[in-house]
Amino acid sequence: MITTSGLTLFGLGLGAAAILAVASKLLYVKEDPRIAQVEDLLPGVNCGGCGYPGCAGAATAIAAGKANPSVCVVADLEAMAAIAELMGQTIEEREPEIAFRDCTGGERAEERFAYSGIMDCQAAAMLHGGAKSCPEGCLGFGTCVAVCPFDAIHMGPEKLPVVDPNECRACGKCVEACPRGVISIVGITSRLLHLNEVTDCLAPCRQQCPGQIDIPRYIEQIKAGDYEGAVNTIRERNPLLMVCGRVCPRPCESVCRRGHVDSPVGINMLKRFVADRELHSGNRLPIPCAKETGHKVAVIGGGPAGLSCAYFLRRLGHNPTIFEAMPALGGQLRYGIPEYRLPKKDLDWEIQGILDLGVDIHLKRKFGRDYDLNTLKEDGFEAVFLGLGAWQASGMYAEGEDLEGVLGGIEFLTAHALGQTIDIGRKVIVVGGGNTAIDCARTCVRLGAEVTMLYRRTRAEMPANPEEIVGAEEEGVQFKFLAAPTRVIGDENGKATHLEFRMMKLGEPDDSGRRRPEPIEGSETLMETDFIIPAIGQKPDLSCLYDETVEKCPVETTRWQTIVADPDTLQTVVPGVFTAGDVFTGPDLVIAAVGDGRKAARSIHYYLQREGDIPIPPMVQRELIPYTLFKEVPGVQHSERANMPHMCHGDDRNCTFAEVEGALSEPEALTEANRCLHCGLTCYDRDMELPWKNEQELR
């Protein structure tokens, strides 16, 4: 038996080993030996944060070249370096990603019903969507805290989760656990690409801002003394914060909920405060950019839209080149806004910050004359952004407006900005009620003229910023309301001497909600003048798109001389050609151009990355979300809104182009930031009609 046993087992062992040996020869599959080595180097946590099924999967992907050696979210730099060395690559620095909480509500949201179930967000969410009346915000039970494997989240004093950026590895467990989608793992790229969606926690100001700046967040950061963080938050949406801090007409403040209590928070003052702080600190905050993609994009027009688009493209890793027809970048910012509102040196500083990211520029190169779409393509540009602006002043439709001594508002400002001397004489009439008109008026005051503004409606209807109007008044500008020009009368030399105007009265409101002015027959009056500046409106100058015979750019245009594009993607009818800014919208705000510039950059990014497929989020916020805009805000103490300080007075102000408005001081800024009610979506709505109200009554 002993022999049989020995032999049998010997045979079995021999058989097994032989079969395996033969099989391993026959069935040999070449496998990268580096997979095992890489796997050894990975930490083996199997957390799935890299998006691969466990460390083995990640190792396979790394060895196959599908993943970067730095894909692991847990491994330290050393391990990454070792893997990279093994793979013969250098580590590309991973874009830092952390969990980001997007709700400012916390415990303040109303309770819809008494909840005494399991203290767990998911359990609570299952019961009628959670006890909080806010349907989007944080439920506050801290399930995300419980699931975080790195102890990177804790509950803050307001029952809101607070992410510790040093501990967070962006593994995504909290995102999975949150039933409300309050937390997201976002790297800078996805934050830059995000468009407001109706399911985001959007305070009214954030909904209204054409640039979609996360206003509550930067105000919160200012409150916490994190001024640099606030600058970074603004820069995620607006590279021209210093500019906007000075010139923005602040649509956000018009919907500020604080306005229902006393007066709106000085959002723009706060923006200017942090922007000026950086400006005067002497060093620029670093702006992180995604890794190079190598895509070349031509940005035509160096105005706010073009600068914004180039800036976001650069941050997304692409290589934009700006083509500008004028001798310097800035567009209307430089040539349309006078020095006393926006000093050129500060504008230069801000633009330089964008160029420093690695944006190429070609100045004095005019589209249609020096290059066109075809030559751009030949030069290797894969996408084109048209940010031509609106440079043509609209006429007054009055007889004699082509006489000498009549110059369109924007043309006047541009000529002045270019340093040309214009003989405006002593008495100047500015026609129009917008910011451009006031800019013209106040510029003329500084040039020593006596200025009268003619506006066909009343002061209340003037579209210009109120403090601009006040500023103009203070500087001695005369206003003539309810007056519309009818005729320019010139002398024998063809020089304008008088302006004839007609008085108006206000009739029924028109589409814009303003009362339509109606002429009063027989009220014609003559006014003596040396110089007339009609600043009624502007429109894009599209002549560059056409040659006498050939179309240089086959884009479609409208009868308002704007370019047609998909309102969501901003792509024109020519694939790969995008547009934004005044040339698309007609004359609009700087912040609108900046916001659309980002939107266009986003589309270009997807166009380049996804072979033309540009995703549009289904829930994108296109108009204000009605139920978030309630008016009643009980229980808030009144406090005064800060006043913008003036930096110069008297003759200094009226006779020089020194900057007029200044920035808030730090204590003022903090006080102002504290006025913010940090609105979540519905945290204050105590009387909101809720779909489940009846359901509760039933019970």
Binding site: T4, T8, L9, L12, L27, M119, V147, E176
Partner: protein, 191 residues
């Protein structure tokens, strides 16, 4: 036919291999963290258990029994199973890459899975004929898979629940397995 039906019901529910017979507990606790993984592991166990049972049955019938070497059963079986698993892994990798992709990474775990060896041994102890052994192996494997997937489903949900720190992970997994086992008690006496 009825015999096989009863065999299946008995092996899957009444005498579930993990929950009633305590076999294959290591992978039961170890690979039940995600349903997708549990499915893969379960599939691999069914696959290997059937093959291993068939081959060990042949080894026992035509090699060990005639030579009177029954006492070497354990040794011969594990040798056969270990080689088989390794062979299957190589075979799948070369011949059926899609299958290897879904089951492959679990195969090495199965060498030391007592469910496979246990099924083969139970078949010998009960002296099942070949066909019945194979059917029993398949049924037990499926029982293992069901238990595994169900537990994984529970644990996936537990993962994001508030569990006392000390209970997190394996302890709560074991308690859940216990409760499942208690639930499976209800099948006792069904056959």
């Amino acid at each position: 036919m009825q015999e096989y039906f009863l065999l299946f019901i008995a092996a899957i529910f009444v005498n579930n291999i993990v929950l009633a017979q305590y076999l294959g507990n290591c992978p039961f606790i170890g690979t039940s963290k995600e349903t997708s993984v549990a499915l893969g592991m379960g599939g691999a166990v069914v696959f290997v258990a059937v093959m291993a049972t068939a081959i060990t049955w042949l080894v026992q019938e035509y090699l060990l029994s005639p030579l009177g070497l029954d006492f070497l059963q354990t040794l011969a079986f594990i040798l056969v199973i270990a080689s088989l698993v390794q062979f299957v892994e190589m075979f799948l990798k070369k011949m059926v890459p899609p299958l290897y992709k879904s089951l492959g990474i679990f195969l090495p775990l199965i060498t030391t899975n007592c469910a496979v060896m246990g099924i083969a041994l139970i078949c010998q102890r009960k002296e099942f004929p070949l066909l019945k052994s194979v059917a029993f192996a398949a049924a037990s494997g499926i029982g293992f898979m069901i238990a595994l997937v169900v537990l994984a489903g529970i644990r996936e949900r537990l993962e994001i629940r508030r569990v006392p720190r000390a209970m997190r992970g394996t302890p709560v997994g074991l308690v859940m397995a216990g409760l499942m086992s208690l639930a499976f008690f209800a099948f006792k006496g069904m056959i």
